[in-house]
Symmetry: C2
Subunit: 351 residues, 2 copies
């Protein structure tokens, strides 16, 4: 397979213009990208080429019907300058789960994995080595086929682009538990990493930001009584010494960081519960002092501690703990990701 | 305003290659399109230019976060070769309602209306004159600004493209009342013409097609007990001599054809009811012979009679009526649209 990837190298690298000590998140792009087109019912030869504009007909269905999905991954360097990926096959599987729901063709494992590894080799110098930074990897697929008719396209593009990145959120976040808007319907596409799921969150998130919050914690669309996820992160809640997270469903993303955290926590002897959590339970625990921690978990943010939350016009602050679960778990998962400790799970893959 | 539209004419028209007697729906494009870019916080000068590919950075948010909305409209020719639009300001208002929900900048009335009129003048010869055909008009807006960060873009494109088109559906359609999947969440974006709403329907629609149906009739995501809409059409149900349609909500599109049909029906002395309709009521009416008609209403399909529906593994056929409401109402609305009868409502606008 890897011999079937066509490589077109950039004439002059842009890397000298990048300040690796002050990296933003996901807005500086590496020299190359992988591109693979689907047409006539088949994926064509993948090409690694300079990161460069895409030309699309105005009638391409991506502009009209939202047939787009993506993944978020990271590549890390260990102390020996090895390149590491974290559970990449899980991203590939989830991308295809999203693809199925959005009627986008399945991408073969070889194109995804061999294409990604070849791209990381070509752009090896773009993988940050400094603490807390990583190469953010964005595989995505979208409809290029044309027509003003609401039906699946017959042509698609699969692209992997990368961006050396610093932290997603700076510092602790303050969240608002949503009472009116919703992210996902029962029987909808909430579990998929579909583009439309994100645009749908911007307006309610802006309303929350206007009130001084950084993010929204979504609740179920029917009762708004149960915690779902935070859009770019799954949510963990620690009540006394139990770490709780909502079960995945057709409304909640099956986060790779989420399931890794659950595994690490269990093996560290932390009591975990995967069950529905009502907003009432969280508010009650906050009031009686049993609510110890809340944090988001996702590839981009890894673990993002929550400083406090708003609900029904009230604000609740969370205590500042020594040796929090969030800090312990974040250290453990990033140590595994960057090859600082043993990986008993077989999660990391050397490129 | 119209003097501020820049016009770049095509060198050689493609019109001679088009068979206007055998037009598909929305897949043959006129010579020109209107394009207007939003950047630095403002809409730039609109340009009418040849219908041609758009070049976008791979990091453009349209590919990742589904910030895209659209409208569907039609232009008609009357017997005197005048060009007519139908309630175009309602499309402009709805586009901005969608824009607000998707955090896309509002498009000013002048750019939308003057741009559209100027485009129709430049491509006047592309407006079909034969019965049942029209120029389908597709205004759309999407995020061009870049970044792998789930937040609204800072740059957008507004485009109007047109396609001389025949009928959307050929003949009567058979629909499946959905029991598992859902189109929209309470507090979601179902009322907006957001791209992501359409891709989300493709998979359940394909499952319905595999069973021999043409379309899905969506039900509420919580109980699946109430009729919502059909994705590309609102739904009307005639029980005995009463014409019923669901109220609009944050899950159901405020269809321009829907509200026009309601007005025309009322003025024709047809009893109408805008209220929740349970699936049980429809099935019961089908069983006891009181269900006379069902039809979809939307810009693309105008009125699309439904031949029968499936629900819980049973199929229900609808009777074939002389002088159906669907036929009466379709004739009336298309006669108004094409200037064959008086327009007491002030709905049509001469270009």
């Amino acid at each position: 397979m890897s011999s079937q990837i066509e490589i077109q190298r950039i004439e002059k690298s842009k890397i000298a213009s990048v300040d690796f000590n002050n990296l933003p998140f996901g807005s500086v792009y590496s020299d190359h990208m992988l591109e693979c087109n689907f047409k006539n019912g088949a994926w064509q030869t993948p090409v690694i080429k300079p990161f460069s504009p895409i030309s699309l007909d105005p009638s391409s269905k991506i502009f009209h019907y939202g047939q787009s999905i993506f993944e978020g991954m990271k590549a890390y360097k260990d102390a020996e300058n090895n390149t590491l990926l974290f559970r990449p096959l899980d991203n590939w599987k989830r991308l295809n789960k999203s693809a199925e729901r959005l009627m986008i063709p399945q991408i073969p494992e070889e194109i995804f994995m061999e294409g990604l590894k070849a791209l990381l080799k070509v752009d090896n110098d773009w993988i940050p080595t400094n603490e807390g930074s990583s190469l953010y990897i964005r595989p995505f697929m979208f409809a290029t086929g044309s027509g003003f008719h609401a039906s699946p396209a017959n042509e698609y593009k699969f692209i992997i682009a990368t961006a050396p990145s610093g932290a997603y959120f700076a510092g602790k976040v303050k969240v608002l538990i949503e009472e009116k808007y919703a992210r996902a319907a029962n029987g909808g596409v909430g579990y998929a990493k579909a583009g439309g799921n994100y645009a749908a969150q911007f307006y309610p998130t802006q309303l929350a930001m206007d009130k001084g919050y950084n993010q929204v914690i979504w609740t179920d669309d029917n009762t708004h009584q149960f915690i779902e996820e935070a859009g770019a992160m799954n949510i963990f809640i620690r009540i006394n010494d139990t770490l709780i997270t909502s079960p995945t469903s057709d409304r909640i993303l099956d986060g790779i960081t989420r399931k890794s955290i659950l595994q690490i926590a269990e093996d560290a002897g932390i009591q975990t519960e995967v069950r529905k959590i009502s907003v009432g339970e969280v508010v009650e625990a906050a009031k009686n002092g049993n609510l110890k921690e809340m944090f988001g978990a996702g590839t981009a943010a890894v673990i993002s501690p929550i400083a406090g939350f708003g609900y029904q016009e009230n604000d609740y602050e969370l205590p500042v703990l020594e040796n929090s679960f969030a800090a312990q778990l974040k250290k453990k998962i990033t140590d595994i990701q960057t090859n600082k400790v043993a990986d008993p799970y077989g999660w990391r893959i050397f490129v």
